[in-house]
Point group: C2
Chain length 401, copies 2
Amino acid sequence: MNIAVAQSGGPTSAINASLLGVINAALDSKEIETVFGSFYGIEGVINNNFVNLNEIFESEYNRQLLRQTPSTYLGSCRYKLPDFEKNPPVYEVIADRFKEKNIGAFFYIGGNDSMDTTDKLSNYFKQIGSDIKVIGVPKTIDNDLYCTDHTPGFGSAAKYLTACLQEITRDASVYNMKSVVIAETMGRNAGWLAASSCVLHKCGNKAPHLIYLPEVEFSVEKFVNDVKAQLSKNDTVIVVLSEGIDIEGSTYMSENRDEFGHGFLSGGGKFLENVVKKEIGCKVRSMELSVLQRCSAFMSSLTDIKEAEQIGSAAVKEALRGTTGVMMCFERISNSPYEVKITTVPAGKVANYEKKVPTEWINKEKNNVKDIAIEYFLPLIQGEQEFIMENGIPKHIIANN
Amino acid sequence: MNIAVAQSGGPTSAINASLLGVINAALDSKEIETVFGSFYGIEGVINNNFVNLNEIFESEYNRQLLRQTPSTYLGSCRYKLPDFEKNPPVYEVIADRFKEKNIGAFFYIGGNDSMDTTDKLSNYFKQIGSDIKVIGVPKTIDNDLYCTDHTPGFGSAAKYLTACLQEITRDASVYNMKSVVIAETMGRNAGWLAASSCVLHKCGNKAPHLIYLPEVEFSVEKFVNDVKAQLSKNDTVIVVLSEGIDIEGSTYMSENRDEFGHGFLSGGGKFLENVVKKEIGCKVRSMELSVLQRCSAFMSSLTDIKEAEQIGSAAVKEALRGTTGVMMCFERISNSPYEVKITTVPAGKVANYEKKVPTEWINKEKNNVKDIAIEYFLPLIQGEQEFIMENGIPKHIIANN
């Protein structure tokens, strides 16, 4: 038989490692002949837009390039598979495509929206008595998927953010004056990424002096007092602000929504920069760490990249064992030495839910993260990739689509 | 005798390597006893705020930490030394401090403003018949210093920018739709950093599709036509915009000026994002690469770091030969194999001037950089540092000041 694989949702620097994991397991299996990559998520299946991945990734050189290339080799989509009752033909088209290409299993690497698709599609195949397996492989820098200890992509984003914040702290501390930096992180409605910056405290940094998460209420007045209190003790105050925070008085909860109803949440940092200017009057700079948080590979976590590859391979083995309708998960056995095992959970349990940062990790002033959280984050950001370089920068592999 | 060293102007990821070069040459010299670091630039001399660097950097471990720590170990200042006629006492204070500490030479690592200080101070010491030498060590990510082939710090910023733009291009290309990304770079009134992104063309990328430099006129109308033309050929259009561009109709030429009269120039990208939204209507995102361009060490250029260290050491040797009032320079012998030699130029020739990108490197449509420029930039971004890591991120060394 053949298999198909697609990537969905926002990019990460580990999502291609999971694709590589699927390819590797298929190349190693006697039962699987060809791995078809579907361009632009499930839309590539519907539009018959496939590529034969065996041919490209027989070469170890290309496999390494895939491992080190961030973002989605196969492209992505934000297409939401409608409920079966509302649009049976789209399910029939997908079934036809799989039949044409003799596809016995489909692997969807993505976030909670992709798990919704995994759930719907696997239920459809069960209902029509088809033997096709559908398995979800988790991916998101937001780390907000239920039932898994953490998600591939998160560790690299956390490592990048923490390393950047350390550098930003150095940069902000050069002048002999009071100053505030507000760094706005991604993470949607969950504060995992912002919270991960608490690892800096373990490195002897007081920064981030303030970390604000969407898991607790935010008050502009309290924010101003928090910053003033920190400025009385420190020349430079580093504030980490999760994009998902609902700031009263700010108009940043914004105009655009995608097909899943997600809004673009950033802009709170700029709003608070102006608050600091007005209420405190010291030097202040806000910055959005922007898409580099999710797509920067050169400070990626080797632990994350390896795990992303392993969970992709595990998905293939799980399908070969006859499982369908699940998402692959990490279960943490211990922090030190760090050990995880790979398990499964019904995709329907994951779809459309968001896992939040435990409130017991947040300090009682609700403006920082307790040391207990460091034990969770620290193992996820360990190790560095080695890169094939070309012309002074990491070499990428790009699909001809 | 003893020597003193200070750092000035904006941070770079190589300015501590130049400090290390000064320390290394002093440790190797029989004539020099102690290296005093002055905190916060020349202000540390005036305020008697010194640190004994020999004690800290006898250890090779600490020397490696200094090499890999971005931004200024000794802090920085934007203090402009007034003309002697306007404020003789400040010169006398500096001379007294040097006398107290038996300082025979002062090394000022900085940009063109620091060369102004180097020039004034060396002239003063000559006039009063003092034997104290003053030597400038170049530093700026803007690469805008006269008389040197390039400046330490620039190669690392160029490598970081180019690597980031490649990643941003991957990130922007995931969806099957037309989109525009406008990445705003630093560089003040010179387009060197923005221009360096042309190296991506050598890596098989069409991106950046458009590069706008302050060396040529900018028209919003032409910009819109340029973007439309690129969108007709490409799904994703990457635009690099140098912060120093004067955009008609934009109000971004901004409120704040520092003591050297420099304004904060950023904001043009956001302005043009709104122009694209209104005039073209496709998906568009602008981003400021912000301070990470200048202070991110983990994609720094090994060539740059090594040269920064060498030029710091060369400055000490030059002072020991009796030279004063100069800035150390790089003269390029050849591109391939890459070879430079270190020379000197009177600091007064460098102070307060800006070197621009040669207009013959800019294409005739004035919206990109010709391949000829790649030969200049490419050698400067070669090689990667190895880092001492701690807790998953590069370890930094921080002064107790």
